[in-house]
């Protein structure tokens, strides 16, 4: 980062919580310390399980729209109110997506795929982006209960890098049976309503909500700035699917990283908004982390006694709380407290306090050991353009007076950073990397589902004993990719894309729940059903204690994961695991992920060991995400981002397409004008081989991950085999391969050979 990197200012807020609709309702609850937690009225729950919950009051979703989507849309509209121009991008944290609607349909025996069109967690951000008129990328992260905070951390990097000038970032989750009963079966729900930090606390309160923050990048605070997002820290415990590291070490590292990223001295922090769920283990680990950073902690409180725990929305709702604290001098109370647990060593605020802090820290942690910490500062603190950190503080002077140059095409296409491939592995119906490559080279289809023995070969029984198909696929890929990377050190961060998450766990949990009248289901399956469970397993297996991010965005899930990996790539000595996979589930896949008629049941994926590229050494990959709706179509934006038609022809010897839109169209309608693939050919005047990777590797969402790995190996070999190149081996002569997802969510990955400039 240079000293002229833009700073990120909050200029709009939106929130729906148990306290009510709108930021005003949340503010009033924070001021009065009310406790609106009560059994939900809009979720059907057997009488014996009607525990206190955090339902957004007086809010009914319109027909045809899942509750999560409706909550997100209203919060987004609030945050954008009065804005003349739409944001450049939308970044949301979502864990459940349309599952509330899916539950009702599935329980009622509905088998029409069209009814499940909004199941995917990524559809929430797409809806919000469309509603806001945003044609830029709609990114979705699913990192369990840290999702909302991770979304803001991503927005910060987008603004700093100049890729976006404004980002709508937030988190959302609606109440549903999966989470209501999942947490109950984990015995993590306090029957009296959550009492964070209490000596007698016994769990959280499952809630819903949405939090949205409109951020703009600028060198100086704009007039309407409410606060500055100064820094963020992401870490992973790499320890256990649900239990925090004893002593809160992962949380402590996230706080330290966030403060260092912000250039803020711990002594300048005037309030810490705790994750404070009210579970025994979270509060103990978090308190230890806070005390490790601040021997004499600043004022602290958890606001979950007011909002309950709105899961993916928590980090975003609490970002709104942080901004209100800075803006209005309101330090909110820790509601629900009887006697503070003396073992925690914290003295939480019992009443609202009128005080203007300079800096607020907001903690969010989640299943999978995901830790995300945000640092906010009063917007007027550095208006002179100079850092005003206290003497000896690590403040960096980012507030240069010169205007920030914004790339002309910032809203046309997002080009990620360049990553060098150290090792790669893929999985298909043919088996692992070697078997897949052999079939692909011969032009034979690998579409299918690999046998379980292929996934578990070489993995200790204890490692796979309580995980089902998708996390097994992820682990199998990671073992093979690390083998291929040879002596490369252990990966530090994990970026994983999956459109549908662990479908087997989700199905097993819901099927057992429904069959037992909402009484029994496997807590193991609930823990395993979260989208980020596979990435959490990778972190544990490989000791990856840095950022751990799962992206979910339909067919663009892998591309988004790789894009995020490039955004967070740091030193060359910090290897990254990045990949994507989806499983085929015989019941759920045909409903949520219908494929072209006649295509075989297929799944698989690909995973790469990467590091930030240095020059043009080695095989490299570059993710590109074009705008969705721009004059000339996404393909002109993609071609432009790749340096223009001439550069595309010069740099790429072949194009692999993963093209669900075109292939799902009946053949008769597939005329030249309607085919995105041909449209791309016209844009780039590309005359080399265009290979349908979806046909060869399988019709599933993250097939582009497998295609990228195959492309890496072919570029490494330097030849496109005859079966794919029209009958004669085609020397690539230093050219790379472009992997283009030409579906409704266009995205591409450029695979570059040694010496080939990105």
């Amino acid at each position: 980062m240079t000293s002229t990197a833009p700073r990120a200012f909050v200029v709009g807020l939106g929130a729906l919580t148990a306290a009510g609709r709108g930021v005003g309702a949340l503010r009033a609850a924070l001021r009065s310390g009310v406790r609106p937690l009560r059994p939900p009225s809009r979720l059907s729950v057997p009488a014996e399980f009607r525990l206190p919950g955090g339902e957004v009051p007086d809010f009914d979703e319109p027909a045809g729209l899942p509750r999560t989507h409706a909550l997100a849309r209203e919060a987004a509209r609030e945050a954008l109110r009065g804005r003349a121009t739409p944001p450049d991008a939308v970044v949301l944290g979502v864990t459940t997506g349309g599952i509330g609607t899916t539950e009702r349909l599935f329980a009622a025996g509905e088998r029409e795929p069209a009814r499940y069109a909004l199941h995917g967690a990524g559809t929430v951000a797409e809806l919000v982006a469309r509603d806001a008129g945003c044609t830029g990328p709609a990114l979705t992260v699913a990192t369990a209960c840290s999702s909302g905070a991770v979304a803001l951390a991503i927005a910060l990097e987008l603004l700093r890098s100049g890729r976006s000038r404004s980002v709508l970032a937030g988190g959302v989750d609606g109440l549903c049976r999966l989470t209501w009963h999942g947490f109950r079966l984990l015995q993590l729900v306090d029957p009296r309503g959550t009492r964070p930090l209490d000596a007698d606390r016994s769990g959280l309160t499952v809630a819903e909500g949405a939090g949205m923050v409109l951020l703009v990048g600028a060198a100086e605070p704009p007039e309407d700035a409410l606060a500055e997002l100064r820094g963020a820290g992401l870490t992973c415990d790499a320890h256990h699917p649900t239990q925090p590291l004893p002593g809160g070490e992962g949380a402590r590292r996230a706080i330290v990283r966030a403060l260092a990223d912000a250039g803020i001295d711990p002594a300048d922090v005037g309030y810490v908004n705790l994750h404070g769920t009210g579970t025994t283990d979270n509060d103990a680990a978090e308190a230890a982390a806070v005390r490790a950073v601040w021997p004499a902690p600043p004022p602290v409180s958890s606001t979950k006694g007011i909002t309950g725990h709105p899961l993916a929305a928590a980090g975003a709702v609490e970002a709104v709380v942080a901004v209100l604290a800075l803006r209005e001098g309101l330090l909110p109370p820790n509601v629900g407290l009887g006697m503070v647990d003396p073992a925690l060593g914290l003295d939480p605020l019992r009443e609202p306090v009128d005080r203007f802090p300079r800096v607020v820290v907001s903690n969010s942690f989640g299943f999978g050991g995901n830790n995300a910490v945000l640092v906010f500062e009063r917007a007027d603190e550095r208006s002179s353009g100079l850092a005003v950190g206290t003497e000896g503080s690590p403040s960096r002077n980012r507030a240069a007076a010169v205007p920030v140059p914004v790339p002309r095409d910032a809203t046309r296409a997002w080009k990620g950073g360049v990553l060098e491939v150290l090792g790669a592995a893929c999985l298909s119906g043919a088996g692992g990397t070697e078997a897949t490559l052999a079939a692909f080279r011969a032009g034979a289809s690998c579409a299918g589902t690999a046998a379980d023995e292929v996934l578990t070969a070489g993995l200790p029984p204890r490692v796979v004993r309580r995980i089902r198909r998708l996390p097994r696929m992820a682990l199998a890929l990671s073992e093979a990719a690390r083998d291929a990377a040879g002596a490369t050190g252990a990966p530090r961060s994990v970026f994983f894309g999956t459109a549908w998450g662990p479908l087997s766990e989700t199905h097993e949990f819901l099927a057992a729940l429904f069959a037992s009248g909402d009484r029994f289901a496997s807590p193991t399956d609930f823990v395993g059903s979260v989208h980020n469970a596979p990435a959490g397993g990778l972190a544990i297996r490989h000791g990856a204690s840095g950022p751990n991010v799962t992206a979910t965005a339909g067919d663009a899930s892998f591309e988004q994961a790789l894009f995020l990996a490039s955004l967070f790539a740091r030193g060359e000595d910090e290897p990254i695991l990045a990949g994507g996979a989806d499983e085929f589930h015989p019941v759920l896949s045909p409903l949520v992920a219908p494929t072209e008629a006649g295509s075989a049941a297929a799944d698989g994926g690909g995973l790469l060991v990467l590091r930030r590229a240095n020059g043009t050494r080695g095989i490299r990959v570059v993710p590109v995400i074009p705008a969705t709706d721009h004059g000339g179509g996404p393909w002109s934006a993609l071609v432009e981002a790749l340096g223009g038609a001439e550069a595309v022809r010069a740099r790429f010897g072949a194009v692999f397409t993963a093209d669900p839109a075109a292939t799902s169209r009946p053949a008769a309608a597939d005329d030249a004008a309607a085919s995105p693939r041909r449209e791309f050919g016209e844009q780039a005047h590309f005359e080399g081989p265009v290979i349908d990777a979806r046909r060869l590797l399988g019709a599933y969402a993250t097939v582009s991950a497998a295609a990228t790995v195959v492309a890496v190996e072919l570029v490494r070999a330097g030849t496109l085999p005859a079966a794919l190149a029209g009958g004669r081996d085609l020397p690539l002569e230093g050219r790379g391969i472009l992997v283009a997802s030409l579906g409704p969510r266009p995205a591409a990955i450029a695979v570059l050979g040694p010496g080939n400039a990105p």
């Binding site: 015995q187 649900t242 309580r466 807590p523």
Partner: protein
């Protein structure tokens, strides 16, 4: 011979997916958690669900759980004492 204990061995191995353990190899007095069989908090919750579903035995607090899940024998003793006819 203790038929309930043997029944629980099988159910235990199945419930937590111990594919590398034969039910008959679990010693009645070895610890289930940590060193010993190596179960963790999620496994114990899986057993809690199994006990309620199959035997009508509820375990809803940690102190009781620690006592019941100390070993296979303590588990069998608790089930014997508290089992109720299954709900229809």
């Amino acid at each position: 011979m203790d038929p309930l204990l043997d029944e629980l061995r099988v159910k235990l191995v199945e419930a937590v997916g111990l594919t590398d353990v034969r039910p008959e190899d679990i010693r009645p007095d070895e610890p289930l958690v940590g060193d010993g069989l190596g179960l963790d908090s999620i496994d114990i919750l899986e057993l809690v669900v199994m006990l309620e579903e199959d035997y009508g035995v509820k375990i809803d607090n940690k102190e009781l759980g620690r006592k019941v899940f100390a070993s296979l024998r303590s588990l069998a003793d608790h089930v014997r004492e508290h089992r109720t006819p299954p709900r229809s």
